[in-house]
């Protein structure tokens, strides 16, 4: 089974064996690492526990990051929800809160679980934990969902390095959003094909996303982008569960992402030499921070 390198192979094998995608993934992992499936699932549980701790810590804090650029936006959302105001229903509110809680915790040097990276750590956990709470499912189902998400990230990473410096933000927050979309479909007991379609539909629509962080820090636009792309995952899942399909097959989408990543200017790949980082305000912030730190 170790030769399963793309989504097409995974889907075919899972359907032939009459198994869910997460089952194939944990078998693969077991084969590759020579560890029992139970041990792999225990390790996933530890990561879920860390995700929940990060959410809980983040919900309680409004401490600013070292740069002072972020850290109190989750508190603003919580206040609005407490006042009974929102455009969203409970599930979407929860996803948004959990996403801000996690990524702000990351910015203030709190403990988080990278998924797939630290800069995109607010997407997969917020979606899985919020949906699992709303569906009132047990921990084993959260594990199934996170393994499903992991499989999506792993297969994409066979072709595309999951690093803003290599392929832009499409390969970090973008891939996280596709991972989360797949996880939601698993939690709603969608089919394997729907899981893959959720990932495909999401990936198609984050293609080309650049990595242009102000002052090189994981804050602007990363913090709010995590929140946006968490909700985005719900769209991918909703469409897939309705039976809407991506006309372009997912493996071809990943190839296209790789091509786009290669064509993307290095100035838009985490080097902060273009985009938001070099807007007048972006440059002003960069200069102020540089002065502040040189004086320390």
């Amino acid at each position: 089974m170790t030769d399963l390198k793309n989504f097409g192979d995974i889907l075919e094998t899972a359907d032939n064996m009459n198994k869910k995608i997460y089952e194939i993934c944990q078998l693969l992992e077991s084969e590759n690492t020579e560890k029992p499936v139970s041990e792999i699932r225990e390790r996933v549980k530890d990561i879920i526990a860390a995700m929940k701790s990060a959410i809980n810590a983040g919900l309680k804090s409004d401490e600013k990051s070292t740069s002072g650029m972020c850290g109190d936006d989750c508190a603003k959302l919580l206040k609005m929800y407490k006042d009974g105001k929102s455009l969203f229903g409970v599930l979407h509110q929860k996803i948004l809160k959990y996403s801000f809680a996690t990524i702000e915790q990351n910015a203030r040097m709190g403990k988080i679980a990278a998924c797939p990276t630290a800069g995109s750590c607010g997407i997969v956990p917020s979606v899985i934990i919020a949906v699992a709470e709303e569906l009132n499912v047990n921990e084993e189902r959260e594990v199934d969902a996170l393994i499903t998400a992991g499989l999506v990230g792993k297969i994409v990473s066979n072709k595309l390095a999951l690093a803003g410096a290599v392929a832009g933000c499409q390969s970090e927050c973008g891939v996280a959003s596709a991972m989360a979309a797949a996880a939601i479909v698993e939690l709603y007991n969608g089919t394997n094909e729907q899981i893959i379609n959720a990932a495909a539909l999401t990936l198609k629509n984050i293609m080309g996303l650049v990595c242009d962080p102000v002052a090189g820090l994981v804050e602007i636009p990363c913090v709010k982008r995590n929140a946006f792309l968490s909700i985005y995952a719900v769209v991918g899942a909703e469409l897939a569960l309705a039976g809407i399909k991506s006309i372009i097959p997912v493996d071809e989408i990943v190839d296209a992402m790789k091509q786009v990543g290669e064509m993307m200017s290095p100035k838009l790949k985490e080097s902060s030499e273009a985009g938001l980082a070099t807007t007048p305000t972006g440059l002003q912030i960069t200069e102020e921070l540089s002065k502040k730190w040189n004086n320390q």
């Binding site: 993934c25 992992e29 590759n32 690492t33 792999i40 390790r43 996933v44 530890d46 990561i47 860390a50 990051s65 070292t66 740069s67 915790q105 990351n106 910015a107 203030r108 040097m109 709190g110 403990k111 988080i112 679980a113 990278a114 998924c115 797939p116 990276t117 630290a118 800069g119 750590c121 997969v124 996170l146 393994i147 998400a149 992991g150 499989l151 990230g153 792993k154 990473s157 066979n158 390095a161 999951l162 690093a163 410096a165 290599v166 991972m179 002052a215 090189g216 820090l217 994981v218 804050e219 902060s272 921070l289 540089s290 730190w293 320390q296």
Partner: protein, 225 residues
């Protein structure tokens, strides 16, 4: 030597934020440097280059490197207060920030010293997604990335040294995954970095220390990932 991809490359690690390359990577470089030095330093100086120098303070790269030298893993919440913890331990800490574009964008030289060992200079790079490498120890080239238990040796350059070390490993039925040697000049000092499958026993370390003119022996265990 690339390791096979696992699920846990994508979900995890559990770490202190905000950046896998600039925070978690920094912790791992500091940690490996601390293990290579092998004792509590009295003073440690970090020279950060390029992206590490430019964005390091906003990413807590400084706190991460220092926390690593203090022996912290990437998920230790004391990383945030590593300056205070170092002060409690009486360790002098100094940071310098430089530009040198002949160096890797995320690189650091760590100079550790105490009365017993003297001074050691260890260079490292953070290559992305929390992956790191120690590239130099006291001017000798190494490639230590924490994926394997690694034997680090600095010794007098003379015929037969590699044989003696590898024969000792073979005698203990230890398989060598990769090996890297370097020297500054013929007959002076040389270095060996040997990655092994499994682990290096205390017996091996004892036997190595019996070989004359071996100046440094360290067993750097695989990193928790």
């Amino acid at each position: 030597m690339e390791k096979a991809k696992t699920l846990f490359d994508v979900i995890g690690p559990v770490m202190v934020g905000p950046s896998s390359s600039h925070t978690a990577g920094a912790v791992r470089i500091g940690y490996l440097a601390g293990k290579i030095f092998g004792e509590k330093p009295d003073n440690v100086t970090f020279v950060l280059y390029n992206s590490f120098a430019k964005t390091g303070r906003g990413h807590g790269t400084d706190k991460g490197l220092l926390g690593g030298v203090l022996g912290y893993d990437v998920d230790n919440e004391n990383i945030k207060i590593s300056y205070q913890e170092a002060e409690k331990l009486g360790i002098g800490v100094n940071f310098e920030y430089r530009e040198d574009y002949t160096r890797h964008p995320n690189s650091v030289d760590i100079i550790l010293e105490n009365k017993n060992i003297g001074k050691m200079e260890i260079s490292g790079i953070s290559v992305g997604a929390g992956e790191v490498a120690i590239t130099k120890i006291n001017g000798y080239k190494f490639n230590i990335n924490g994926d394997y238990d690694t034997l680090v040796l600095i010794y007098k350059d003379k015929p037969g040294m590699i044989y003696r070390v590898t024969a000792l490993l073979q005698g203990q039925n230890i398989n060598i995954a990769s090996m890297h040697c370097d020297r500054k000049a013929k007959g002076k000092q040389a270095s060996m970095g040997i990655c092994v499958d499994g682990s290096i026993s205390e017996y091996i370390i004892n036997e190595l220390s019996k070989i004359e003119e071996v100046y440094l022996i360290r067993n750097i265990e695989v990193l928790k990932k």
